[in-house]
Amino acid sequence: MADLPKTPLLDELESGPFPSFVSEIKRAAEKNDMSKDLLGQLEQSYREKIGHWKHGGIVGVMGYGGGVIGRYSDLPEKWPNISHFHTMRINHPSGWFYTSKSLREICNIWEKHGSGLTNMHGSTGDIILLGTTTDHLEPVFEELGKIDFDIGGSGSDLRTPSCCCGQARCEWACYDTMALTYDLTMHYQDELHRPAFPYKFKFKMSGCPNDCVASIARSDMSIIGTWRDSIQIDQDAVREYADKGMDIRSDVIGNCPAKCMDFDGKELHIENSYCVRCMHCINVMPKALRPGKDKGATVLLGSKAPIVEGAMLSSVLIPFWKLKPPYDDLKEIVDNIWDVWCEDGKARERVGEFIQRVGMGNFLDAIGLEPVAEMVAHPRENPYVFYEDYFEEGDEDEEEEG
């Protein structure tokens, strides 16, 4: 292999305490020409302050409609080894747990067929295999199949669902995020692999309101654990925190958004019917407080990045469900939502935008769900109500019509 290109600008990013992506690319470039040209083109981008990638074309794996992002250099003569430089999105295992064995197998495949560069992981959650050519796509897929790794989503399909580590490594998980993630992923394989929606759709599961996968901000359906009964209190442990110098009044109670706590120096009292399950008190006293025992999840809908109607956070659809396998209640509602959205959604309209356009009330009618007060931050402020029925003269029995 030829020498690495000169990269005076990128080299400056090899110093400093944080691990350097430049060092990673160089290390790959030592044995891979794609990575070497990537290094060269990137240096050029740094010099010119502009990217050098062309708009992607559609490439993929047979039988799949997504999961590969086609990418082409706009300087193919100069950097021939990255004239094609496609990304493969590989569906990660729930919770991003691995064995060294499985990771090594992936590495071996990518050593053979790709640039040797990856993202561990993409921000949707996939294993990102960065940079290969069209002719390698099928072989990679074939070899991945042998170690049971399948392709993730792209385009207007379901994207790889992801979740926090949940009950595997967290005491606060109010439902089994990993099991649900795996179950939904398996159940919706077709939707994941064959784009048939108006636009992308993402699931993210967090075990509690701390929301460690940012599901409320970046998934069309956000499933966030919570509880219905009372926070479990170990009063001895509370006193221990106090004894060790925690200012329970100001640090704990003073930050309770529901203002529903009290501490008399001995006992911590929580008026649970006012508690909004924010997690703060539990977060700061993990040895003393725990979520209740009647656990489940809140299902929310609609978050997304700003393009084009403005960013959205997900909003409450189901205030509380127990969420037990086989999750039929959840799947039924998901199917209903997809049916309605596929029927009436516009192209490139995310489900959150769709709901805003048709109105939450109408959307609920369409998916067959009753409105509940938990769905809104507050009732309407404007008087423009579409009352649906009115009386006609002659309705002597005062039956409603419309």
């Binding site: 019917s273 709901i355 509940v372 007060a373 009732p379 309407r380 402020e381 423009y384 009352y387 009115y390």
Partner: protein, 359 residues
Amino acid sequence: MADVQERRTDYGPPHYEQFLPPIIKENYGKWKYHEILKPGVMVHVSETGDKLFTIRAASPRLVCIDKIRDYCDLADKYCDGYLRFTSRHNVEFLLTKHENIEPLVADLKKLGHPIGGMGNSITSIVHTQGWVHCHSAATDASGIVKAVMDDLSEYFENMKLPGKLRIALACCLNMCGAVHCSDIAILGIHRRPPRTDHTRVKAMCEIPSVSASCPTAAIRPATVDGRASVEVIEERCMFCANCFTVCPAMPMADPLNDGVSIWIGGKVSNARSEPMFSKLAIPFIPNNPPRWPEVTQAVRALVELWASNANKYERMGEWINRIGWPKFFRMSGIEFQKEHIDDFKHAGLTYKRSTHLTF
């Protein structure tokens, strides 16, 4: 034209100074503090040591000239002829002599005017014309106001509530008054789309402006029975009456379907929390004159619920913000319905975009 020029116009209202009692002129801008001595009676103390007593009496606002003359008689008797009205249409008597307070209170009670509306109380209802004078009204104003205040008069006359509670009423969506920012608002609403009088549209209205007036594009030009007129797509109507405002041939009023809706949790002051809009609590109560018993009941239930659950100083909306709307609906027993969910321009911003929920 000569006439017009000679004519005296644009001279404006009389200067307020001539209406200020001497004690006010002397202490203008020098007031130091005030104290509510008892319901409806307060004293303002000046840096000079002067004291001004104010007695506030309920007024129906719709008053005949003889009633105004009664007020004048009392003002002459006790206040050297000085009196004022408040921004909520109560009448206030301005006294310098402490010993005049009780006799004036007694005379006002004799006249049938309760004393109060100060401090943590319910003062008079800001309201509008209703069937007394407005062509737009979906309900009467004065009648409901009288019925509700009769029912709540104890709260006008004492100061036992957690904070101030402001009620307002408007007889149609134009919302003359501050209905949109009241602790409790009673709002007249239509629920039937306009019934177009096709024989009169052409003559009385400009068809393009009528179509344009509809915010939901429910109205389009149409020929009906050979006449140029408009047609209304009824499912699209949200009863704003904007069409009626520009076209008298499209009346909205309808005895079977008009009524009131009840809105809560608004406020105007900047005290503690920022000003807030009122939100829909009860979508519809049919008109039931003369005393609208369902309305008075609903209002009382809201007042009692708030009064017995809010913290000190907590206005209705502040209380509900603390406990959350779902809990409010559970506590009040009001059924949450599709109508409560906003579907107007910024609707998406009213959806619950967090997991802060109570159970």
